[in-house]
């Protein structure tokens, strides 16, 4: 936490993106989280992803609930839209916003308390409905704002800062997302931006419910020996199944890898995902085997990270409901009040 605003002076050779903006143009207010908080690294990763995708900040809607994680949208994309909802209710608000205006890019930022405890039901329905959004859970395994009680994602047997062991079973949000029908599921770590940034970019470009569980150590209450969400523990037990390189449609694909080690996956919008396989037996297109793989490794105490599942033919909520393509605020009176003839026709169809 700092009281000083970040100086506006920047590196003289700071690169610009296709919009002529620099990374610094995507910043928000200075963070008031604890110094060293993993959440700030995730904010920096989101900022970089949006910058590198050449997305104008004002086309993004940042949705969040309550908690340390949910404060963070203030700290990046200062000129984006934002909604800070009631605790755990971000998915409903995001769903409504998305239905009203499908042209914005929806980024939900939540925490393990906001999504795995009070908002678990909300989380579940956003996933199963296929709301077109990127849903990031900044998962630190504790309630940081209330001084470090175990959260619902704390592993059974992990100890608190004072040494008390957690007796409850952990909720694995990645497993839930897979079961509930999310069409893009990944897990990463705030301390590894080389893995996290491409994952966020791919998720932002995914059409459908994209979920990223991002382990984010709480330096204040959950970064000790005995924690399973500390920097050291995650680095020791991180099992990446693949490395993702995100390729925008413009770039040429260079295939200089050993056959079978790289898979190029095309997304709906023409962007490409280049997946370098790290675990030979892992298939990110098979929902069922992914679940098994996760549970096997989880039982061994390993944290499986990477792009865990992607459905390239995903549909979203708008496809399911057959809604109008134009954002509601752009519909004119002629479309909203089509007249008595149209009403008569509609009534006739229901007789």
């Amino acid at each position: 936490m700092t009281f000083l605003p970040k100086p506006t002076l920047h590196h003289p050779d700071l690169p610009t993106n296709a919009l002529g903006l620099t990374r610094r143009d995507y910043e928000g207010a200075v963070s008031t989280l604890c110094a060293g908080c993993g959440h700030d690294s995730i904010s920096a990763a989101i900022l970089r992803a949006v910058f590198e995708l050449d997305i104008p900040p004002h086309r993004v809607a940042k949705m969040s609930g309550i908690g340390c994680s949910s404060k963070t949208p203030t700290y990046f994309l200062g000129t984006a839209h934002g909604f800070n909802s009631v605790h755990g209710r971000m998915p409903s608000v995001a769903t409504g916003a998305n239905l009203a205006n499908r042209d914005l890019i929806y980024l939900g930022v939540s925490g393990d308390g906001d999504s795995a405890s009070i908002g678990l039901g909300q989380f579940a329905h956003a996933m199963r409905r296929g709301v077109n959004m990127t849903y990031i859970v900044e998962n630190n395994g504790v309630y940081g704002l209330t001084k470090g009680q175990f959260s619902a994602t704390s592993d059974k047997g992990a100890t608190s800062k004072k040494g008390v062991a957690n007796a409850d079973s952990a909720i694995d949000l990645v497993g839930l997302a897979l079961q509930l029908g999310a069409t893009f599921v990944g897990r990463s770590f705030s301390g590894d931006k080389t893995q996290l940034v491409p994952l966020i970019k791919a998720a932002l470009r995914h059409k459908g419910a994209a979920f990223i569980d991002c382990i984010s150590p709480c330096v204040q209450f959950n970064n000790h020996v005995g924690s399973t969400k500390s920097f050291d523990y995650v680095r020791e037990h991180n099992e990446a199944v693949n490395m993702l390189d995100f390729i925008s449609g413009r770039e040429e694909i260079v295939t200089d890898y050993e056959p079978g080690s790289v898979e190029i996956v095309a997304q709906h919008d023409g962007t490409l995902l280049k997946l370098r396989k790290l675990a030979a037996d892992y298939d990110p297109h098979d929902r069922v085997s992914a679940l098994g793989y996760l549970q096997t490794h989880s039982a061994r105490g390993e944290i499986v990270t990477g792009l865990l599942y992607v459905d390239l033919d995903a549909e979203d909520l708008h496809d399911h409901l057959g809604t109008v393509a134009t954002p509601l605020n752009a519909l004119t009176e002629a479309e909203l009040c089509p007249g008595s003839a149209a009403l008569a026709k509609l009534n006739a169809s229901l007789r």
Binding site: M1, T2, F3, L4, K6, P7, T8, L9, H10, H11, P12, D13, L14, R24, C34, A35, G36, C37, G38, D40, S41, S43, A44, S188, F189, S190, G191, D192, K193, T194, Q195, P217, V219, Q220, N223, F231, D232, R235, E236, N238, E239, A240, M243, R276, L278, T305, G306
Partner: protein
Amino acid sequence: MHASRTKRPDAGKDFTLQATDVSDPQYFHKVVDCQYACPAHTPVPEYIRLIAAGRYADAYMVNWTSNVFPGILGRTCDRPCEPACRRGRVDAEPVAICRLKRVAADYKGDVSGRMPTAPTLRRGKRVACVGAGPASLSVARDLAAGGYDVTVYDGERRAGGFIRSQIPKFRLPESVIDEEVGYILGMGVEARFGERVTSMRSLLGEGYDAIFVGCGAPRGRDLPIPGRREAAANIHIGIDWLSSVSFGHVTKVGRRVIVLGGGNTAMDCCRSARRLGGAEVTVVVRSGFKEMKASAWEKDDAMHEDISVLNYRVPIAFVHENGKLVGMTFDKVRAEPDPNGHRTLVSTGEPAEFLAADDVLVAVGQENSFPWIERDCGVAFDRHGLPVLNAETLQSTRPEIFFGGDAAFGPKNIIWAVAHGHQAALSIDLFLRGEDVVQRPSPDVTQTSQKMGIHEWSYDNAVSIDLRYKVPHVEKARALADIKAEVELGFDPDLALHEAQRCLNCDVQTVFAPKLCIECDACVDICPTDCITFTADGSESDLRARLNAPSMDQTQDLYISHGLKTGRIMAKDEDVCLHCGLCAERCPTGAWDMQKFLLDMAQVGKMPARRMKVAA
């Protein structure tokens, strides 16, 4: 290997890049670009903070200790610090370091009580200084404070050397010279002014234990082209003419004046001529405008006074009629690379150009001249007529004779003369105590954490985004009407405060403790100039290309640290660090700390015990 899986390194892993040794004072000294660039290594950020705090007398004394003439240098220094200033790399212009120095001098009040006096414990050794310019006076000050009996000789009646005779009064008022020269003469230095030394042998005969030669480069270079002799009455050697102006022997000049040469002396000549009746003053240079040696701000000031500059013109002849100068002819040239790639000037083939003139001032360089040093008295000279010296100790081939200032290596400037003075004084002190002069005393270095609380530092770490402030000038008509009217008015305290706040405090160093680091990336994320990178080890050229912000300026160091748990290295590019301390504020473990690094060069009278060896 799993790219995202980072395991602890094997014990004893060899790194391609050496970790930075921050205990070597030269490492952090180099980060303080201004201090490093200053020949006298003045602790610039330290005095700028004192100015911001309104502690002008303290700021003055920091300067006085290092550079002896803060009031003089605050108006006339060549300011090698400013092109080096880090602010100039992240902002349009550097901090106005030189003019802030003047602020300290202008508002310090009476500091006479803080000046050292000659110690009562005498060393019983006598030292003669030849010339009373900045080099000799610096030697005299240091040695007088060290208990030596110093005698200063000068042909003029008042001390100052070229500071007094060459620099026009509209740039440097006489009262400033009198004050700062007075501090030194007030330390019990014996002044033998109006007494020109004409023989080294007879000076040696007076039994001095050591002699310092600081007689400058007193001879102005002439231009022996046709018509020089015939039109001599209206052709003047620049430095001689300036001293005649300075001493009141010359009070007017013709209406049309040509000044030959593109250095600072030429700028002083043309601006003086403007004030003595020169209505049409033209500076003519052989090469391009850009290649002129004069400082950019001196060129600006001259042009502001309606002086025109003609470039790419090589003088052919002085034109005279009936024994009187009427003008000059020039060959127009252009710059072309010769087969070796060097720039040469080639005639354009156009007919010679005539410029009418009533007077010509020749300011095409200065030369050393030692007619008074007998060539058989043991002091060797090289083929350029310069004394053979050890560049560090300034000792000549005759052990008790030392040189400094322009007399040592040809014309430089005041701040170099002061730097030589300090070094020569150290050498003389070592020599007279029977010690080895090449064993130089190391500087005094202190390094102190600036942390006071979670968000409190004992320096002002907020970074001002103000652009450089301009020093107010006196109205042009008034300036041109009176050759003694000082053109620059200096910053007032309010402007000085705002300009001082532009200083980035580069002496408050980012110090990294890898054992404490948990690699959370907080510093990387907050750094406003993308200086910090945690990455895999590699060669320097490879690493420089893959930093968060690529850094190709090899002259700016990378701060490399090993010992991180993941086996990566921390690389901090010092180039554009704002020293804002946000990395340290963001660090949850205190792995980054902001520590003030204060380096004071060794001086006679305050010699630290440690010694470091220099090449003999």
